[in-house]
Amino acid sequence: MTVLGFALRRLATLLPLLLLVSFGFFAMLRLGRGDPALDYLRLAQIPPTDAALALARQELGLDRTILLQFASWLGGAVQGDLGISWFTHRPVTEEIAHYLPATLQLAGTAMLVTILVGVPLGIWAAMNRDRWPDHLTRVMTFLGVSVPNFWLGFLLVLLFAVTLGWLPAIGRDGLSSILLPALATAAMSASVMLRLVRASVLGVLGEAHLRFARARGLPARTLLGRHIVLNAMVPPLTAIGLHLGELMGGAMVVETVFGWPGLGRYALQAIGNRDYPVLQGFVVVMTAVFVLCNLLVDLIYAWLDPRIRLERAA
């Protein structure tokens, strides 16, 4: 099976799922609580008289069945039109396109931190099993998966911005400003990555091909590079897709600590206002980004490792 065939098969299962999810969101908003027309009038600052309500319902298409409403939303969505915000009266697509890059930049940098911290320390811990590096990283990872990310953000600001004055406390201005929020966002994922890498390296260390390589008298450097690291990296890196969801969610919480101008603030505003088109657009876009990133990770692995292609095709 070719990589292209694999990609098409995956897309064929993902698209219906995405459609189902979008409809689920749509139905939940319409049936969730109260009357959308009331929220619409409130945000437009129009007194909710009977006449105004009836007009709003007609204007928003609320008098049609939910399937028809969804169909008309979907018709716009596939052309990149997610509707108009009830609060700002601007296109949702435009506003999300404005805020999304900052969130993706933060989540992406956090992913980089996750890999750059998790992989080398994980190898280090495994090579020094039951010695102090292993114990040290174990304590670190335990704290890492237990610490609230936003609170870690405050602690980092307290240390690096307020006390030491090395890095800015808030804002989005170059490399120095993204370091602290990325660290706070990445703490949990980096810890999980470290443990996965450690376990995977330990697994490879016990394998027969390594004993054979050692018996052939290969130098330690070759052993570590080609035989241990390359083989041990596949399982932890396939889990990258799982980290992505965590990092995207985490980034939105951490954003508020650092005044990072991302989707988190936009979503919070929409939640406070009950701005239906924005909520719908937000959740669908985030889900689509998440699903596509996962697909990309899968494809890279199918390309790198034929076993995955064959296994999933079977």
Binding site: L29, F150, F154, G250, A267
Partner: protein
């Protein structure tokens, strides 16, 4: 070292549970009582941990905060278990179309990043601690339904279950006598590893101002409340966060110990 961890974890969780249950009796002050003449006091005899920006006793607020946070996590646990067991058993026992439909619904829920889904749910349902609980439970139940379905399916083909069926035991009796005991172990392992995770979600969403409204004492909202005074009175931010951290550490250590005891094959703490 390992031997010390379990008592430590038990102690931490017991401490937090004790604070949560006993808060109304052991808290030295009313957690919402403001006193502007006693703002931002340092720790002293009357206020062991000092006071916040509205003169409220910090220790009392921390104790009451344990109550709100742990009540939320308990409610999430109950909802997730109920929903997961119901859906998972239905899918596993009824099979066929029901199974296929229920599993597609699970897939749909698992397609969305959990915190994004929780934020959206709160948008649809409105803010408040109850809705935060519902939102977190709804974004996590699908994994439990999957697990329950798997166990149910594997049990259906076991000889002793067939024997029970042949012996004339009703479906309900088989579920109670054979299915529930088989589920208890895997569910306990999964749930105990998730408790800390939910705790962090509750704290995060409260911090964003989506949970309890400000006068109430809850750790996440306390941190949010204290933000303007963060540089002058960092303890107002540090202490509630430490409470969250310690509780989650306790949950995670207990979860790991439980997993080692019940299911040593599961991977290391991964979430």
């Amino acid at each position: 070292m390992r031997r010390l961890l379990v008592p430590l974890a038990t102690g931490l969780v017991a401490l937090m549970l004790g604070a949560a249950i006993l808060a109304p009796w052991i808290a030295p002050h009313d957690p919402t009582l403001t006193n502007l003449s006693q703002r931002l006091l340092p720790p002293a005899a009357g206020h062991w941990l000092g006071t916040d920006h509205l003169g409220r006793d910090l220790l009392s607020r921390l104790l009451w905060g344990a109550r709100a946070s742990l009540a939320a996590v308990t409610a999430i646990l109950l909802m997730v278990l109920t929903l997961g067991c119901t859906v998972g058993m239905m899918a596993g026992l009824l099979g066929g179309v029901v199974d296929a439909v229920l599993m597609r619904i699970c897939d749909a829920f698992m397609t969305v990043p959990t915190l994004v889904l929780a934020l959206f749910m709160i948008g649809a349902l409105g803010t408040g601690l109850t809705n935060v609980v519902i939102a977190i439970a709804l974004s996590h139940w699908a994994w439990y339904a999957r697990l329950v379905r798997g166990v149910t399916l594997s049990l259906r083909s076991q000889d002793y279950v067939t024997a029970a069926q042949v012996a004339g035991l009703s479906r309900l009796a088989i579920m109670r006598r054979h299915l529930l005991p088989a589920l208890a172990g895997p569910l306990a392992v999964l749930a105990s590893l998730d408790l800390g995770h939910w705790m962090l979600h509750v704290a995060g969403l409260s911090f964003l101002g989506l949970g309890l409204a400000p006068p109430a004492a809850e750790w996440g909202i306390m941190i949010n409340d204290a933000r303007p005074f963060f540089r002058t009175a960092p303890m107002l931010v540090v202490l509630p966060g430490t409470a969250i951290l310690l509780t989650v550490v306790g949950f995670n250590l207990l979860g790991d110990a439980l997993r080692d005891r019940l299911d040593p094959t599961m991977p290391d703490h991964v979430h």
